[in-house]
Symmetry: C2
Subunit: 456 residues, 2 copies
């Protein structure tokens, strides 16, 4: 699929008119500018002048924040909650206001298509999600979702027809594990339907609740090669862009994510009668493990991260030495080989901890998401689009998972990041500035225009 996508060009003369690099067309490095592109018919001047209405996006963000609003700020709009359902209904109203005709696909995603001029072309797809984690923030998936609708509205309002169909998607239940996008990409195992989500419903119940149809998932499935490209705008959720005072992140890929359940077995005994020397304390061993994981992950250069986020000690009474501890281990990196090497070191060192403390460590892999690299040519479109708008960029990995990684299974994928203030996300204090949101949406618009010229 990726090999079929060769030519690339910026829409019109955007790079020259807005960017800093006058006199050169950097995309020539990638492919010849499509002089005969249908864009030419709409006029390069129009494309150069096209802008989203940033005030409208930010106003919509404030309205969406009412659905599942928490007193401490932010929202709890977990997938399949009443807040989620009402938020989605409101969002479909925003689609319609924009002149779009949204429908709910059998996977439960909200989708609207703007037809292109060339019926032979596969769709360009843009979008994000509006479900949140419990006690989450108001920007996470909301920025990309509302900006995507705004991009569609801007094209329609300016009668800027694309060659490709443009699908504008709000994926359902991103936070619960990219559920809606994995149904579309064919990566969703039906057994997961019985799992319970954070709103208390099983996925089976939840998908019905929001209007999907678990018996007709096949109708929403797309095969590899069924999309021309996927682009998602999202907040960074980390602090790198803000710390370096940069406007736009060009995502080089979504890191691989690996989870293990780790069980530490010692021997539960009476905390009063068992001398310190005779103990086989599973929590003490687990503590040494957590410290060791931190040491191993930080002992090598690179952007890899390792986290123990969940822990339970059994029996869990203040007056009983824990005989068993269950905890989770998570490792993320763009390179699978790095993760494998770090994991091997961790297992080896855990064995030593176990030998010294009379405990045993057992590892069970639970989640394994391969890294999803973005398409280098889409990265280049995003970078040049940003530059053409006078915005600074940084290429960086996404440490978080996104629906974009499901879409990367189907075709070339790209992601645009905007700064997160303080690097905070999944929390009430999650925040992105209105100007950054507007910038991100304009980069998305311009990237879509560029992609539409791609291969023309």
């Amino acid at each position: 699929m990726l090999g079929a996508l060769g030519a690339a060009s910026l829409p019109g003369s955007a790079a020259r008119s807005l960017g800093g690099a006058r006199g050169t067309d950097p995309l020539r490095e990638i492919g010849p500018a499509g002089a005969s592109s249908p864009r030419a018919a709409t006029g390069a001047e129009l494309d150069d002048a096209l802008r989203v209405d940033g005030a409208r996006i930010n106003g919509h963000l404030a309205q969406l924040a009412e659905f599942g609003k928490n007193p401490q700020g932010g929202v709890s709009r977990m997938a399949y909650s009443e807040a989620d359902r009402r938020g989605r209904e409101w969002l479909m109203g925003v689609y319609r206001d924009a002149g779009l005709a949204p429908r709910i696909d059998t996977a439960g995603n909200i989708v609207a298509r703007i037809d292109g001029t060339d019926p032979s072309l596969k769709p360009l797809v843009i979008g994000s999600h509006i479900d949140s984690v419990p006690e989450g923030g108001n920007f996470d998936g909301d920025v990309g979702t509302l900006s995507s609708v705004e991009v569609g509205r801007t094209l329609l309002a300016n009668q800027r027809r694309l060659r490709h169909p443009l699908d504008i998607v709000c994926w359902q239940n991103e936070e619960g594990g990219l559920v809606g996008s994995r149904i579309v990409s064919g990566e969703f195992p039906m057994a997961e339907l019985e799992q319970k989500g954070t709103a208390g419903k099983t996925l089976r119940e939840g998908i019905a609740f929001i209007g999907g149809d678990v018996n007709r998932f096949a109708e929403s499935r797309r095969a590899k090669g069924d999309i021309a490209a996927y682009v998602e705008l999202h907040i960074e959720q980390g602090g790198t862009l803000e710390a370096r005072k940069l406007d736009i992140g060009v995502v080089e890929g979504i890191v691989g994510l690996y989870h293990w359940d780790v069980e530490v077995t010692g021997f539960a005994n009476h905390a009063g009668t068992t001398a310190m020397r005779g103990r086989r304390d599973a929590l003490l061993a687990a503590s040494r493990f957590i410290e060791m994981v931190n040491h191993v992950v930080t002992s090598e250069p690179g952007r890899q991260v390792g986290t123990v986020g969940h822990i339970e000690a059994y029996p869990g009474a203040p007056n009983v030495i824990p005989g068993r501890v269950r905890l989770t281990l998570e490792l993320r990196d763009l390179a699978v080989a790095n993760v494998e090497r770090l994991y091997a070191r961790i297992v080896k060192e855990a064995t030593v901890i176990g030998q010294r403390s009379g405990t045993r460590f057992a590892f069970t892999p639970t989640v394994s998401h391969l890294p999803a690299l973005s398409d280098p040519r889409i990265r280049e479109f995003i970078r040049r689009s940003a530059q053409s708008l006078g915005l600074s960029t940084l290429t960086l990995p996404s440490g978080a998972g996104h629906d974009a990684q499901s879409m990367a299974r189907l075709g070339p994928m790209g992601m645009i990041f905007i700064p997160s203030v303080g690097g905070i996300s999944h929390a009430p204090t999650e925040f992105s500035k209105a100007a950054d949101i507007t910038n991100g949406a304009n980069v998305l618009l311009r990237t879509v225009l560029a992609l539409d010229g791609w291969g023309a």
Copy 2:
């Protein structure tokens, strides 16, 4: 109260006839032998020959093990469970078989009295408990309870009248915090009635369920000085006696027990997007704390113990850096000053951990049980009783709490330990040998006879 108890003597010539130290009466060191004691009237020969029926005790232990029996061994006979109620009914049958007349006091304890010959004397009290922790063993409180009933039966069957009344008690809900004995000692705050126990009932519901009366606790209360002495036989629950191949433990006291809730506050953030360097990981800090507690407690000589038995990390998801951890800290020692010194060191080192990891530690004291020292003269009675039976002894602290510590508030207290195989307790594999149980019961019998002569 303690000052009023001066004279002490072994029953009859037991030390000479059974012990190793012929020709000396070691109790002469404590007080003059009571030549005019009423024991003389019953005949020293009878006392020397008196023995419990060890086979009966061990048979009763096997029968009691049926109530709340678990497939993996041991019992779950939590206070106020159906198994507890049925076990108590069965036990009252054993009392009656022994010729005792059990009643349930308003506190919910089972009590039977054998009247003494001297109505002016306060009662001697013996007993233990039969409730268990969830997934507990078959020996913990059961050994002392059934042995106490057997001691009463032995006295009755041999028409061996004591001078003192003898109260034989099965305390209710020892495992839930010495509930029955604290009601009697006046240490039970009524607010605790609303707390839920391990069987799912509040103490208020549970006490009614087993036949107590929360409106009439005053009738079961005893004041300081209301008992002549309290003696409890119990399994050691630690491995010291077994490791040293000794028969009987003479408990020097029950260690003080102190609990704190410790809250570690960091900052919750996305585990994928937050670089390792920028983290304020409360679980990593908590792990360093647990390791440090172990180091502090083991860095000084002595028998002090320190335990972190419970831990929770919030929000507790595999993919979120924990922003907050709650854990429990327990310290035990016979000397309050030692606990205070260890705690001060722990707080100081926690502050350093906090400073280095961007976290804060807060300590809230939750449980504080002062050490309860046994009476040195009762210790001597137990030691000589054991020696008179040819049994080896060791003086040691009790690391576990017992109803004996409530009774120590009312009068002189002593405890007899027998070996726990492997030092295991509160577990299905808890085990004490039949011969050790019989030995313990005989030491209890002989100690009661000695106490009855006390001060005569």
